[in-house]
Subunit: 329 residues, 4 copies
């Protein structure tokens, strides 16, 4: 039984905590959070110990793996604590908002030789995984154009936006990872354009809420990502890959397959509301993969280098938006 | 240039009249109708002569083919006039409401040796034709189950229902033809059940408006037809063919492919409203086929025997509904 | 913590056993099976005791509820044992192949006053539940026509067919339940027709493999069920409800939403392969509902009367098929 | 009866010629082409006079309108001839490859006060028109993101590519028009990136075959166009408009609605093969609109200014591709 410490009892921490507790091969030993009440409540529901001292949990000899779900600004420190304690690491994205800091972590983890995996949950979505497999297996021949659509149902609180690092580092970072993953190569040029259309408060906070990014690779493949912080019809997460032998499209998921034909037309369900619903199964698959990695049965599909690459693309997008011209990566 | 006389200037007569006038290989020479004004108006718009005397038009030596679109009770007489005058015949369904009278017509047409085709327009619908071709070419192996859905957007006037011969002879006759055509064999047993749910006036007129019929063949294939005189979302015309190697489904057509994703869900267009819209292209293809038949380039895909068979199935359904038990054909 | 005894460690027993073990409010105390090895293996994986003596498990005072997943011929006896021991009962369908025996059970359960629920899992499918809710809430006005399609990917072993009670009692019994549930009234007339098209061995065993049944209610609504023991494209489970204000359709589920556009056309995933995949979530919801019933939070959505009614319709279908005419219920 | 001269008997000239000949309110009086045989063949089939002298046809007093379908390098001259002769003008896109020359034409046409319409056929497509109507009527609130996909089934001959003005002026010009039309405002910034992936010969001819362009407007709306000269599954023409209240998507059209469920999955038809099939109805609607404009019943939906604007965007894309940075319009 693999004993795991969970650092952070917020929204995403609760998901991973529950999945760990329900996993037949894992045991949730610790839940820590800066908010003692939040940690205590989750730990109690899942039969774990709780506390506010992450270091104590991480260094507990019974703990073999650490799931880092605390706020972004603490990730790097937790990674270093865990690496030095020789624990396997699962860390939510992004690793840090500074590429330099990420590189320090990368060095520490490599030196420690511990297993580390980044929480790019979308790679574990059944539809995205099937599209990736189709592209990689040559089903559409040479990949030429990749179009990624990613829209949240609504914006996060302004308070979050102020500390998130901005849309590119916080939200599009998932899409940057998806693009590199499906392309099978790191883009070499990034052009970003963006607007503040959803909520003027976001603009006042220095961020944008509607963005379009074009990426190009050495081989000439062109990718495009469009993001919006608001989609009234739900969480819109789609990928279209076009190549010399055809096209693969991965669509949204719905709660049920019922359609109504009546006066207003033929009406189907909206996409599942948000990431908790859409990626519910993906989070379970992701955790299973992490456990397999810790047990030596698999190698992390989402490595610390992947986390670094996605952040590098986000940085390039930030610079392109500022300068108004494409940026080399 | 094939000169054609059109008998009947009502709704379906206007469709065929316009298609004849627009056809590069045909000329509409006559439009006749018991209503002189209706005939005159259509003839004038299409550059034809008009009158109330169908015989005169049929026997005009320049006329080589006759399109019979008058009321059902006149079909048999027109067929006989045209057959005796040696003209090729296109006749709207049903030939007559009496099987005996149909058989007389059949004998007359055979004796005269003229080309005759029944207006089973649905066979010329691109989707139904593709499904038929798929079944006949063995794409789903041995055909085992056939499910035909056919619902009108709304009931015809009560006056029409009183003289139509009832739902089985007037409306489901198309589906009986479709079923025999796709099965590739004449069903040998018919069970019908029905209700009066749409409009009590239809019940008072001695008819039903909601019906379900099960047909069985010697080979064990089972077909099912469901009809309703009302569907608030439009004209609902679908076929599902299931066999040992798979399933083919032919769906409705829409005016455009636009979908709206918003608060109410994902909303697509309703099916095209009624037969004029849905079978617009089919009517043109049907006329082309008739002209090809007259010119000796093709044999009628919808023969007078097909018209007889469909009526025989309708008769069996009427009897089954009366008796409450299945009827052998 | 609700302690449950599982009777039967076969395919369906394993599903329920795993769901009980994973449920935060339940504990799997016993697994029994006539096959000691099967019981032991499942019990060991799920942390339960095992044995071959169902009575011992049922009468264990710690056990508050019993899940009966053994072979059909033992259901009635298990129900009676559990009822007499005052335990809540979950029983897989059918209760028994004899209506008389079902009525005995019904009397015993009523007398004992215990909670009892039948495993009509399809009612807990998200799509079917949404369609049911739509119909019951009046979204399509008055329900007029109901069309249920239910095809298995392939036939069960001939040995199973010989003892199953036949297609109507074993397979279509689910659809009979669905039809009554959505109609909201018990049909009063049943007409069945069927063929042996899939495998001649099924015919030799005295059963049919392709069936179509028409049911009618007092209110004039007409339902139709079609079954096949084989569908090469997977498990085909669909419902179409048509009424005065529109139509609701519940379709199949797919493993992912990816489509491929290429030389062969636009290709989507096949339906999920069989009931284990399609109803995976429904089984969990069903168990949750059972536990809620035992805890007094809900009343069984699938009562023992529902089990009786479905069997009565199956009996009527068997008689109709034999006699060739519709049968009153 | 409106008499029309057709200039150019090539692929697109044949379409317009046939539609004019079949139109009840129009008569095709002339067909001219530099290739006398081509002109003669089409004229003879459609009952018109033929010749190689466009001026003669344009200046024929019976001719009230001119349809210019000759090669792009002759458009400007034909427009000027027709404008000076006081004839209504329908001209295929692009007007000319030089913006300066287009402006001269514009001035001449304005001075002459004749009706002029550009052949942006896609605006008359039922799906695109419905999407446009939805956006303009506020169905999705404020338009924020517009995504246009436009892929040809295969590249034109290299000879054509050499004189076409390149992908942006020849192919994407349609999409530039669509974008401006749906945005309801002219974009102010254009960024283009492109590759040569389909055929090296295209690269040798100095052109690209895979392109992605991002356009931005004053209001902050962002549009994106992706083009490919080859799509093995057919002509791929889609639009997605996203706004504050939802999303509208216009998809491809198929020859029929049949789907096959079998071993390979659920297979539907490919998109209609190419523009002749996809825009067949749009060409008829477009001609009807032109005739309405000539008769004073409507104002050209696709004005000469629209033609100029689309070319200006193409020019900007060409410059952006060369310079590697966004270009202001």
């Amino acid at each position: 039984m693999l004993e795991i410490a969970l650092i952070g009892a917020g929204r995403i921490g609760q998901i991973h905590g529950r999945n760990i507790a329900a996993h037949p091969g894992a045991k949730l030993r610790w839940v820590t959070d800066v908010n003692a009440e939040a940690a205590g409540k989750l730990a109690s529901a899942l039969g774990a110990q709780s506390g506010t001292d992450a270091r104590k949990a991480i260094e507990d000899p019974a703990v073999k793996a650490v799931a880092i779900c605390s706020s972004t600004d603490t990730h790097a420190e937790m990674i270093e604590l865990a690496a030095k304690a020789g624990k396997a690491i699962f860390c939510e994205k992004p690793i840090d908002l500074s590429l330099e800091r990420v590189d320090q972590c990368l060095a520490t983890v490599r030196k420690a030789g511990v297993t580390m995996m980044i929480g790019f949950n979308r790679r574990f979505d059944a539809s995205f995984a099937a599209l990736h497999e189709g592209v990689r297996s040559g089903k559409i021949g040479k990949l030429e154009t990749l179009i990624v659509t990613s829209r949240d149902p609504g914006p996060p609180p302004i308070g979050y936006i102020k500390v998130s690092g901005g849309l590119f580092r916080d939200m599009m970072i998932h899409d940057f990872d998806i693009v590199s993953w499906i392309l099978g190569e790191m883009p070499t040029e990034v052009y970003a354009t963006a607007s503040n259309l959803v909520d003027p408060e976001i603009g006042k906070a220095g961020d944008i809420d509607t963005a379009m990014v074009v990426l190009k690779t050495k081989s000439g493949a062109i990718a495009q990502i469009s993001n919006s912080r608001r989609a009234v019809y739900g969480y819109d997460q789609r990928i279209e890959a076009f190549g010399s032998k055809g096209m693969l499209q991965a669509g949204n998921q719905v709660a049920n397959t019922v359609t109504f034909s009546g006066e207003p037309g033929v009406v189907g369900e909206k996409p599942l509301h948000f990431f908790l619903e859409r990626y519910d199964a993906a989070y379970r698959t992701e955790l299973q993969h992490f456990i397999d990695c810790v047990l030596g049965k698999a190698k992390p599909a989402t490595s610390i280098e992947d986390g670094r690459n996605a952040l590098a693309l986000a940085e390039a997008a930030v610079q392109s938006l500022k300068s108004g011209v494409p940026v080399k990566v």
